[in-house]
Symmetry: C2
Subunit: 329 residues, 2 copies
């Protein structure tokens, strides 16, 4: 660890003020070096009080996703976050995870970026990821299952994000099938999972998660569809804290369910069930009522003709969500 | 096409001799250029007869995997081989296919190499691929199915290789479950399929195929397990011709079955069924009799206690094959 990060860790642990003399002694550097590193921390946005004869105190931390800030927010038990790669800008955190996965990065590695220049959404869409406005990250998993046994991971990811958002903001985050996280009727988080595999062996599985944290406003065409934690609560959330909480919840769920079984909590979080939905099937747009989620994660939809469809992929519009009004609903 | 490849194509089409004058006229180059290109072809191993006043005749082609030689062996209808990349040496044709797949190479692209320096087999094994001794290639597929619907591709690949080997050599190639191609009791071809996907969309699916064509002898530890087409027939087979035939058969099967359904022909080619087999299950080595192949490609094994197991992955030893003697069989 660098002297700066050691200093930060010491300040973080301390309840009140710590004298320059003690910091100098514990880090084994001169008091001039302590002062220099305090200035470096201030330049990064840390609020460090300094009072003559009392010393230094950490009063506030910035919304930083530096590796030091992320490490300070990991719960410390578990392997998720064993390796953290934080980048100012990247094409897509999933692409970075794939590159490093190909090069042998271990299970539990986390890739996070302040900005994605080519962020990806489901179904080939773009995911707008401007600097500082959201938490964009990917987790590299190496589960020992067959490639056709991983559908649970996307449900798990959505549940973990709900838990993380609820714990840190109190917002009632829920899930729009299959894995959008919504607050009210608007999307706050999207998840795109990718994998690389042989027929009998998974090289890696990568859930990529994008949470709108600090966006202050959306363009008019998105205002009905998208929201951010800032817009919902009026208060900023620290991305490193949210990341730490989501990783902790994700690992708890992963250890309990793996990627092959169904996390029961998904059902109670899924807002799609019970609502009027619209979807394409065999070239036609059908309307029906979502009546449940099967154990393989498929959405069950009862059509007006009384037939029950099993929907395992594609887009499902939900009446009243994302500004959708379904014809005849 | 280069003048050399145009010249080669002309010589290939011609039944008998073609005069230098006619070649010069049809290619629009000088007779000196014709002579120069004939010399280039000879340097590549082509046997071109030249007889005064009659002209030139192509008498024999080398075992080359140049793109020109491969193109000349494609059946011409179909999209497999729409793009052919032939390399003198590569880490692994699957790795090359993945790199070019990430960069957008189209469905049906084929990647072939004279030598693989890091050839890969199933279950993390190495696949020895010295220059000139085998046909090492990968096909890039972009099927429009879900990632858990691709298990058929590995069965399809094995059937296509059997058909190709039978057509070109007359050898009775068969399949050891799941997708080794064998002649007699020895392996002549291995297949490793890899894929990159999202939960709802396959980026690409790559069957990688390695056929031992020209190996003259195997080291003692492999002599019981491995064979080559040269060892089986005593005659060399041209890799470009074999590749062309396998691609043709593969595309026929692919168009008929896709990657999600079971190619019925697999059952009649599978030598494992009816034999004593041994496999690991829950930490124990079990012995039983292979009694069939399910429609999802799983091997059905009846154990001595009368139970029927469904085996979908891992290694299955077969009595009498690859020099295996199963204890108590």
């Amino acid at each position: 660890m660098s002297a700066k990060n050691e200093l930060l860790a010491l300040l973080r642990q301390s309840e009140g003020f710590v004298s320059g003399e003690e910091l100098s002694r514990r880090l084994g550097v001169t008091r001039a070096a302590i002062w220099k590193n305090i200035e470096l921390l201030r330049a990064e946005g840390y609020t460090v009080e300094s009072v003559t004869r009392r010393g230094y105190r950490l009063r506030d931390v910035p919304d930083s996703i530096s590796e030091a800030e992320i490490r300070a927010n990991l719960c410390g038990h578990g392997s998720f976050g064993c390796r953290v790669v934080s980048l100012p800008s990247v094409d897509s955190t999933n692409e970075e995870a794939k590159r490093q996965g190909d090069a042998g990065a271990p299970h539990g590695s986390v890739f996070v970026a302040d900005e994605q220049t080519g962020g990806k959404g489901r179904l080939g869409r773009r995911w707008i990821s401007p600097p500082g406005s959201g938490l964009w990250f990917s987790i590299l998993l190496r589960p020992d299952v067959l490639p056709n046994e991983v559908t649970g991971v996307t449900l798990l990811s959505a549940v973990a994000v709900c838990r993380g958002i609820r714990a840190l903001t109190g917002c009632e985050a829920k899930i729009k099938w299959p894995n959008d996280v919504v607050i009210g009727t608007k999307k706050v988080c999207g998840i795109l999972t990718e994998l690389s595999a042989e027929m009998e062996h998974i090289h890696y599985l990568i859930p990529g998660i994008g949470v709108n944290t600090g966006t202050e406003s959306f363009p008019p065409e998105l205002a009905d569809r998208a929201t951010s934690l800032l817009l919902e609560t009026g208060r900023p959330v620290r991305r490193a804290a949210l990341l730490g909480k989501i990783l902790e919840e994700f690992e708890l769920l992963y250890d309990r369910y793996g990627v092959s079984s169904f996390p029961e909590e998904y059902r109670s979080l899924c807002v799609t069930v019970g609502r009027t939905v619209s979807l394409r099937r065999a070239g036609r747009q059908l309307v029906g009522t979502a009546c449940g989620v099967a154990d393989d994660g498929s959405l069950l939809v009862k059509t007006r003709s009384g037939e029950t469809l099993t929907v395992s992929s594609g887009e499902v519009l939900v009446q009243g969500f994302y500004g959708e009004h379904i014809e005849g609903a």
